[in-house]
């Protein structure tokens, strides 16, 4: 928590500094608050002892931003707190707390921040800057705030160049004893060791080049540091030993936007002393737009997922196909539905999902989510533990 208090110091310093400036009159404040009530119901009997079926939960997301210098300088904060039946899912985080300055063709950020890389929908393999807040969502799209210094240099002809200095590693969250979507042995995130002797304080770096020309959008990235995914190994007695390895990961993301077609490719090569592998996600998205003349859009998605790690792939997507459909009504309530399924090409394992959302009034939203694990192969190293963890989730949010 040392790091968090030093950021609080930093923010008060910058606040003082702003008021010392002449641009004082142009400072704008913005405060937002989201309160979320959530209910998750796992309708099958639990596989492991202690696991619950019903998970009522509460989420709080406050956001605050301070802007000056015509918006070219700002301080941004986004906090998060969740209260849940599972003690490990009850957690808080500083998603963002950073100072940012932009001038002409460069931008600089300092603090805890979230950065997203990639183009595909079913899996996000290139995206590596932030640790996954794995207890939050099954799709892994919720992330923990990452301490960083980020410098971006933008050129008109050669695209943008991002340089990241990442001084601190954050450990992945895991479900507790009462939680679902876990292994038979409850993993305490603090029990996971590091390959680096500097542990979480290993000084990591990353680089990304992003450019577009006509219908092509391309990103090339490299990360050198402690990986975000723990590596699981077994000793002769069958005990799980998990640690965070030091990795070099090179990533490529490419999208071709041609009429209503989006062609997508993400690919990584990861090297560590104990592991080398290649993975890719490739696919397309096609949207039939304004079908009824009232704004109804139906998109169809298809992606192929490959991971050389085979059954040791933590996400269990080693040779799979994803099919999905995105339905957007484009109505005043922003009603949208995403349905999909991932099927393993080498076994019977399938995961089906449905996500739907809409707005009520001006300040309420409702979301429904379902994940169904079907015919999970008992030989699946990771996924077999989740075979009874199909669930329904409903959440209602109020925005202030």
């Amino acid at each position: 928590m040392k790091i968090k208090s030093s950021f609080l110091l930093l923010i008060s310093f910058f606040q003082f500094w702003i008021y010392a400036q002449e641009e004082v009159k142009k400072v704008t404040h913005d405060f937002e608050l989201e309160l979320e009530g959530e209910y998750r119901y796992f309708y099958k009997d639990a596989l492991f002892e202690g696991q619950k079926d019903h998970f009522p939960s509460l989420g709080i997301t406050p956001e605050y931003s301070l802007e000056w210098n015509k918006g070219y300088e700002s301080i941004n904060f986004k906090g998060f707190f969740r209260l849940d039946v599972d003690d490990e899912r009850t957690h808080w985080d500083i998603r963002e707390l950073y100072y940012q300055k932009a001038k002409n063709n460069w931008e600089f950020s300092l603090g805890l921040k979230k950065v997203y890389w990639g183009v595909t929908e079913s899996n996000h393999i290139v995206d590596i800057i932030n640790q996954t807040d794995a207890v939050e969502t099954f799709d892994g799209e919720e992330k923990l705030g990452q301490p960083m210094a980020q410098f971006t240099w933008i050129t008109e002809k050669y695209g943008s160049f991002d340089f990241f200095y990442l001084p601190y590693h954050r450990k992945r969250t895991f479900s507790g004893r009462k939680g679902r979507l876990r292994f038979p042995v409850v993993i305490d995130k603090d029990d996971l060791a590091y390959e680096s002797s500097a542990e979480e304080w290993r000084q990591d770096v990353a680089f990304r080049w992003k450019h577009y020309f006509s219908i092509f959008d391309i990103g090339l990235s490299h990360f050198y540091g402690t990986g975000r995914e723990p590596l699981f190994t077994f000793d002769t007695a069958g005990n799980i030993n998990a640690f965070y390895p030091v990795i070099n990961q090179t990533g490529l993301d490419l999208q071709i936007t041609h009429n209503a077609f989006l062609w997508k490719l993400e690919s990584i090569y990861r090297h560590a002393d104990t592991q080398d592998f290649f993975a890719l996600v490739a696919g397309l998205e096609y949207t039939f737009s304004n079908i009824d003349g009232n704004g109804l859009d139906i998109g169809v998605l298809g992606e192929y997922l490959y991971d050389e790690r085979d059954e040791l792939a933590i996400n269990a997507l080693q040779n799979d196909v994803f099919f999905g459909s995105r339905i957007a009504f484009n109505d005043t309530k922003d009603t949208s539905i995403l349905i999909g399924g991932i099927a393993d090409l080498e076994s019977s394992s399938k995961i089906f999902s449905l996500e739907a959302s809409r707005r009520f009034g001006n300040t309420w939203t409702a979301e429904i989510e379902a994940r169904v694990f079907s015919k999970i192969d008992t030989n699946e190293f990771i996924l077999s533990n989740f075979s009874e963890d199909s669930f329904l989730r409903i959440s209602i949010s109020k925005y202030f």
Partner: protein
Amino acid sequence: MKKLILVGIALLSITTITAQSAEERGLQIANEADKADQGFNSSIVNLKMTLKNKNGQTSERLLITRTLEQSDDGDKSMIVFNSPKDVKGTSTLTFTHKIGSDDQWLFLPSIKRVKRISSNNKSGPFVGSEFAYEDLSSQEVEKYAYKFLEEKGNLLVVEQDPVDPKSGYTRRIVTYNKDKAYRLEKVEFYDRKNSLLKTLTYSDYKLYKGKFWRALTMNMVNHQSNKETQLKFTDYNFESELSEDDFTQVALKRAGK
């Protein structure tokens, strides 16, 4: 007799001139309107969008639009949503092109993702409103074929036929005001079945920098669904001196946050 023939020839030539020039005059008016609005460089404006359904129930969206003028291609624009609050920060960056499809990126603030999106969907509604994407994109002369219809006092009425087959319209009937730098007063939209779909009226015009007319109110009525969308513009800023650096994917993320 000779006179009569001469008059006849003169009449004939007048009619051929007008017959030939309905297209030319239409194009000429569009060019005049385009020229009159050249040189604004950049602008920032706040926009309140009020959506009204057929029962009179309303909902609102607040957004900020930044525009950067381009001399040899379509304009660049960035739209940032401020409300409803669940979509606050959602932003789009659009590079319009005089010829061919526009380039467009969407920023989703919840996951900080910038996504290149297809600009194929021209006829679909913008955020549930009565404005289609093509109604709000930069109006480039090259996007239509023109036909001058009539002159009513200071008003010039021109038919515009979209060049792009993906457009939701067969034609638009556009009324220009030639005494006010060819500003638009009214646009009538005819759907693909050639029946009247919508009428857009411009009002509360204000002159900026002594040259640029901007309507502070735009009202779109859909005659087929009886729904309406009103746009109210406030705080037009032509002094912001935005540059190319403010219209990049990096700037899009910064604007949406």
